[in-house]
């Protein structure tokens, strides 16, 4: 007697036929087409919002009653510090996406975000230092906030170095993702360092609560502008990474082709 024909996986097949938004975005070819359209708008929006933020910071915003004009450093220091953390969250989330769902674009995103996040962490440290000298009397103190931020910078450099030290890109991607996820433990330490320890660095600016609107508005506009800038840089870096991988695979194909024609 014939065994009954196996039931087709109709449900899963329907699901696979209509990919979710995330799934369709995770396809590199679709990503390249979509990002080519989005990138100019993202970059344009970033330029406009930052220009407006700088106008508010330099023309409309008054000097602080205690800090004088040095409060203007806040308009670049706070957004840089925010992006230092947001950049790391992007890398860790991408690492999670790679390890759990193996999204083809997850590692592209992680790799693209690392140098950009490192650059904004560096800027948070430099602008903070240049703000610290006139206000605290020193460029640097080993307090919990500054030290944990410096560790974040080293963690970024570690991620970049680890990836470039392993030739097998699949292994490099996995190991970097694991290190990125372990490093997430540093983020709450940075965030709450000003509450857990007695630091020279002031507590959180609290975008909406304790800051006078005269300072809050330019800060929020600049934070939005910097976030748009980060997004534009990240999308561009991801496009570059997809192109780099295509060049690499074509070069390999060329070598194989040449080897085949030699043996014939």
């Amino acid at each position: 007697m014939d065994a009954p024909a196996p039931k087709p996986y109709s449900d899963t097949m329907t699901e696979a036929a209509t990919p979710t938004l995330i799934q369709s975005l995770a396809n590199p070819t679709r990503f390249m087409a979509l990002s080519a359209r989005v990138l100019p708008w993202l970059a344009g929006a970033a330029i406009l919002v930052i220009a407006y933020g700088l106008y508010l910071a330099f023309v409309m915003s008054p000097p602080d009653y205690q800090q004088g004009q040095t409060v203007k450093i806040m308009y670049i220091h706070v957004p840089s510090a925010w992006l230092a953390m947001a950049g790391y969250v992007t890398i860790a989330a991408s690492g999670f996406g790679l390890l759990v769902w193996r999204h083809p674009l997850a590692d592209v995103s992680a790799r693209a975000a690392a140098p950009i996040g490192a650059a904004f962490t560096f800027l948070a440290l430099v602008t903070g230092s240049l703000w610290g000298k006139p206000m605290w009397g020193t460029y640097w103190v080993w307090d919990a906030r500054l030290t944990s931020m410096l560790l974040l910078f080293f963690l970024y450099l570690g991620l970049i170095a680890l990836r470039s030290s392993i030739e097998d890109e699949t292994a490099a991607a996995k190991l970097t993702a694991i290190l990125a996820l372990v490093g997430v433990a540093l983020l709450p330490v940075i965030k709450f360092s000003v509450e857990w320890w007695n630091t020279l660095h002031q507590p959180s600016t609290r975008f909406t609560a304790t800051l006078d609107p005269a300072f809050r508005t330019p800060l929020l506009v600049n934070a939005l502008g910097f976030t748009l800038l980060f997004a534009a840089l990240h999308v561009k870096a991801m496009r570059n990474e997809v192109l780099r991988r295509r060049v690499k695979s074509l070069q390999l194909a060329a070598v194989r082709q040449a080897a085949r024609s030699e043996t014939q």
């Binding site: 800027l123 703000w131 006139p134 800038l229 840089l233 295509r246 060049v247």
Partner: protein, 52 residues
């Protein structure tokens, strides 16, 4: 206009402009490099399987 600490304020903004400008320049030249390399390879008849 920027008070007694103008140097620090200008230095902070200049550092930001320099780093962001450097990132943009690096990303643009990198993108051009790969686009050219890809066009080069395709001109030699080496195409991706998924490319139309």
């Amino acid at each position: 206009m920027l008070g007694p600490f103008a140097g620090y304020i200008v230095a902070a903004y200049a550092a930001t402009a320099l780093v962001v400008g450097g990132l943009v320049a690096w990303l643009v030249t990198d993108g051009r490099k790969y686009t050219r390399a890809l066009a080069d390879l395709e001109a030699r008849g080496i195409k991706r399987r998924s490319a139309a």
